[in-house]
């Protein structure tokens, strides 16, 4: 039952991820990425990580990707920017070579992963993956990292504002 849901979802994610890196237009990439994020949210749900699945949709597919789309629109990008790259043949060779190498590596990884013995999930309590459970952990064991993360976000915000300002003076 889970398998039946998992395989289409996983396949969908992989296809969309590939779509991100092969499509020549950044808009297409971005849309593929959104689709992949949504697919991943599904995978999260499968693993009982409901809270994160929601976050995935809200933060990634919502906020981050909107930002991407916004920038793409702002810069008014066309898809013809890859010309110089593909003109040089050795770049193509390198790409293909890297692709094959990646496949080979993936195969190796798969072999290693195949040895993993956990075939079924542990018995999890009901509140696994809920806001309560995550929140408790977050605010007890990981309170310091949490605060640090908030500072990071603050810094990022300030940084982004400063960088994006018209003139730096």
């Amino acid at each position: 039952m889970e398998l039946l849901i998992f395989y289409p979802l996983a396949g969908f994610c992989v296809v969309m991820a590939l779509g991100v890196i092969v499509s020549s237009s950044p808009i297409n990439s971005a849309i593929s990425l959104i689709a992949m994020m949504l697919g991943l949210a599904g995978v999260f749900v499968l693993q009982q990580a409901h809270f994160l699945a929601i976050l995935q949709v809200i933060v990634y597919a919502g906020a981050i990707m909107v930002l991407f789309m916004f920038v793409i629109m702002l810069l008014n990008l066309k898809s013809a920017e890859e010309d110089t790259w593909s003109i040089r043949p050795q770049n193509t060779y390198v790409s293909v070579l890297t692709g094959f190498l990646a496949l080979g590596a993936l195969y190796k990884i798969a072999c290693v992963i195949g040895q993993a013995e956990l075939n079924s999930p542990a018995a999890v309590p009901d509140d696994f993956g809920t806001v309560v459970r995550i929140g408790t952990t977050l605010f007890t064991d990981f309170v310091l990292p949490f605060e640090v993360a908030s500072i990071l976000l603050l810094a990022a915000m300030v940084g982004a504002v400063v960088l994006a300002k018209n003139k730096i003076d």
Binding site: F6, I21, T98, I113, A160
Partner: protein, 103 residues
């Protein structure tokens, strides 16, 4: 096979997505697409974290994923700001054009 997805399937998915992300980062010239590929990689890691969590009955991984998302958000906001700043100096998003630091 009792209907559960084995852990290694998740890990394989994670690895595949990660490799795709890596390829994107390495092979694409468009800085925005590169950024997106980074996001793919981050997500791929998230899958692993959550899968392990589920199979080991532990919530720490989810907290980690949470952090990863935080970082991703911060990174994207700053990164895109940098891209905009760069674009102002040189109207292109082709990474090869940004070579003033090249020897």
């Amino acid at each position: 096979m009792d209907g559960f997805v084995p852990l290694n399937h998740y890990l394989l998915l994670s690895a595949t997505l990660f490799v795709i992300g890596v390829l994107g980062v390495l092979l694409r010239r468009n800085v925005i697409v590169v950024f997106m590929s980074v996001e793919i990689m981050l997500n791929a890691v998230n899958i692993s974290l959550i899968a392990f969590d589920h199979y080991l009955n532990n919530s720490d991984g989810q907290v980690f994923s949470f952090m990863v998302m935080c970082v991703a958000a911060a990174e994207v906001s700053v990164g895109l700001a940098i891209i905009i700043a760069m674009f102002r100096n040189k109207p292109t998003v082709n990474l090869d054009e940004f070579n003033i630091l090249k020897w």
